[in-house]
Amino acid sequence: MARSPALRRFVSHPWVLGVLGILTVFLVWWLVTASGMVDKLFLPGPGAVWLAGSDQFQRGILVADALASIKRVFIGFVISAGLALPIGIAMGTNRTICHFLEPLMALIRYMPAPAFIPLLIIYFGLEELPKVMLIFIGTFFFNTLMIMDAVKFVPSELVETALTLGGRGLPILTRVVAPYIAPQVLDTYRINMASAWNLVIVAELVAANEGLGKRISLAQRFLRTDEIFVGLIVIGLIGLMIDLGFRFMMRRACSWAN
C-alpha cells in the first residue's frame, strides 16, 4: 500500500484509479493477443485496432460516420427533450392531464423501442426520419415521466412560500418549479441520452448508408474484427464525452444542488 501521504493522495484520486482500471484491461488485452493464444481474426491486438482506426480516420470515414450518428442522436433527442419538458411539467402540476396521459405513457414505455424499427421502415423508408423517430420513441416517454416525477417532488413549502409572497401561476413555474427541477432534468437527459446513443447504433445496424453502427455491420460482413473494435471504442468514447458534458453543465448551472 501507499506509504507516503503524497502517494496515497495521488492513488486515492478517483481519476487515477479510473485510468488505472482502463489501462489494466488494455494490458490484459495486449498480453493475450501478443502471446498468440487467440486467433488474430477473432481478437486483434491493440496495435491492429489502432492501425484500423487511423486508416479510417485518414480516409475520412471515421469522422463522417461519427458525425452521421451524432446528428441523428442530436436531432431525435432535442425533439424528445424539448417536448418532454413542457408535457412533463404539465403532468406534474395538473392532475387531470396526469391521469389522462400517465397510463398511456407507462404502457408505451414498456414497448421496446427497437421493436418499432420494422414499422418505422415501412412507414418512413430508409432515410433519416425513421432513425430520428426511433430515438424519439425510445427516449420521449422516459424523459417525460422522469420530469413529471421531479415536478411532483417539488416541496410544497417552496410553492406555498411563493404564494404567500404574492406569487401566482406562471412566475411560480418559472421561478420556483423550473430552478428546483433543473438538476433532475439535466440528470434525466444524461441518463436517457445513453439509450438514445444505444438506439442509433441499433437503427444503423438494421439499415443505414453511414454511421458508426453501419460501419460495424459492414465490418462483420468482411470479418474485420479490428474495425468492429474501432467502432465499439469510438462509440464508448463519444458516449463518455456526452456524459461528462452533462455532468459539467450540471456542476456549472446547479452548483447549489451538489
Binding site: 416541496p155 413549502e157 412560500t161 411563493a162 404567500t164 409572497l165 404574492g166 430552478p179
Partner: protein, 255 residues
C-alpha cells in the same frame, strides 16, 4: 390591522371519509399583538394558519382581514414555515428579495429593502451565502426577513423553531421577542411548546384535538424585560405547569 376569524370550521374529504379537523374557531388579532395557538399534534393548529394564509378555504365561517374576506394567499399575510422553505439556489439576500421581485418592485428599492431586512435579522454579513451554508437558526432568520420584506400586515409563524436544537431555539425565541419589540409587528405563532408561547405571546389559545377547537385562552401578564430570567421565574413556571396539566388532561381523555 384587524384579523377576524369567526366560527370557522374545516373538514377534509368527502362523504363517509369526511373528517372534521376544526370546529368553531373564533378569535381576533389586532395591530401589534403577538398571539399564540398551542396544541398537540392533530389539534388542527397548522390548519388554522393555512386558512388564514389562504392556502386552504374554510368549510364554514369567515376569515376577514380589515373587513375583506380572505380568498387566496397574498403578501399581506407573510408566512414562515417550519423548515425547507428557503430557495436553495438563491443566496440569503436573493431569498429576502424574492417576494419583492415577484411583486415587480424596482431594483434600487429591492436592494435597499433587502439590505435593511437582512440587517434587521442580524445577517448582513451572510447576504451572499447559500442556504446550505447557513445554520438552521440563520436559515429561519432569513425566512423571517423574507416574510417581513414585503411588509405583511400579519406574520404567520408555523412552528418556526420546531426543527432547531434546544439551545438555538432559545436564542431564536429571544431574537423573535426582540424583533417584535423593535418593529412592532403583528404575529400569530403556532407551536406545541407552551414555554415558547408564554414567553412570546400576549394571548395564548390552547387547542384540543379531534376535532380541533380552542378550549382555553390566557392573557399572559408577565414581565418580559429579560426572557432568560423569565424562563426560570416562579410565576412563569406556575403558569406553564397549569397549562401543561390542561394539555395533558386533554390528551389523557383521548386514551
Amino acid at each position: 390591522m384587524h384579523l377576524q376569524v369567526s366560527q370557522v370550521s374545516k373538514s377534509f374529504g368527502e362523504g363517509r371519509d369526511r373528517k372534521l379537523v376544526l370546529e368553531n374557531i373564533s378569535f381576533e388579532l389586532v395591530s401589534g399583538q403577538f398571539m399564540a395557538l398551542v396544541g398537540s399534534s392533530g389539534s388542527g393548529k397548522s390548519t388554522v394558519m393555512r386558512l388564514i394564509a389562504g392556502l386552504e378555504r374554510p368549510s364554514e365561517g369567515t376569515i376577514q382581514l380589515d373587513g375583506v374576506p380572505v380568498r387566496r394567499p397574498g403578501s399581506d399575510r407573510g408566512m414562515v414555515f417550519q423548515k425547507y422553505s428557503l430557495y436553495p439556489w438563491l443566496t440569503a439576500a436573493q431569498n429576502v428579495a424574492f417576494g419583492l421581485s415577484l411583486q415587480g418592485r424596482d431594483r434600487s428599492e429591492i436592494r435597499e429593502r433587502t439590505a435593511y431586512f437582512l440587517d434587521v435579522v442580524g445577517l448582513a454579513d451572510a447576504a451572499r451565502l447559500l442556504p446550505r451554508e447557513l445554520s438552521g437558526g440563520m436559515q429561519q432568520r432569513v425566512a423571517i426577513a423574507r416574510a417581513l420584506a414585503t411588509e405583511p400586515k400579519v406574520l404567520l409563524l408555523d412552528e418556526p423553531f420546531g426543527a432547531l436544537d434546544l439551545q438555538i431555539r432559545e436564542s431564536m425565541q429571544e431574537f423573535l421577542h426582540d424583533l417584535w419589540k423593535r418593529t412592532g409587528l403583528t404575529a400569530l405563532l403556532i407551536t406545541h411548546d407552551i414555554e415558547e408561547a408564554l414567553l412570546l405571546a400576549g394571548t395564548v389559545h390552547i387547542m384540543a384535538p379531534r376535532p380541533g377547537r380552542i378550549v382555553h385562552t390566557v392573557d399572559v401578564q408577565l414581565d418580559r424585560s429579560d426572557l432568560r430570567h423569565l424562563r426560570v421565574s416562579q410565576p412563569f413556571l406556575e403558569l406553564r405547569e397549569e397549562l401543561a396539566s390542561r394539555l395533558r388532561s386533554l390528551d389523557g381523555s383521548l386514551l
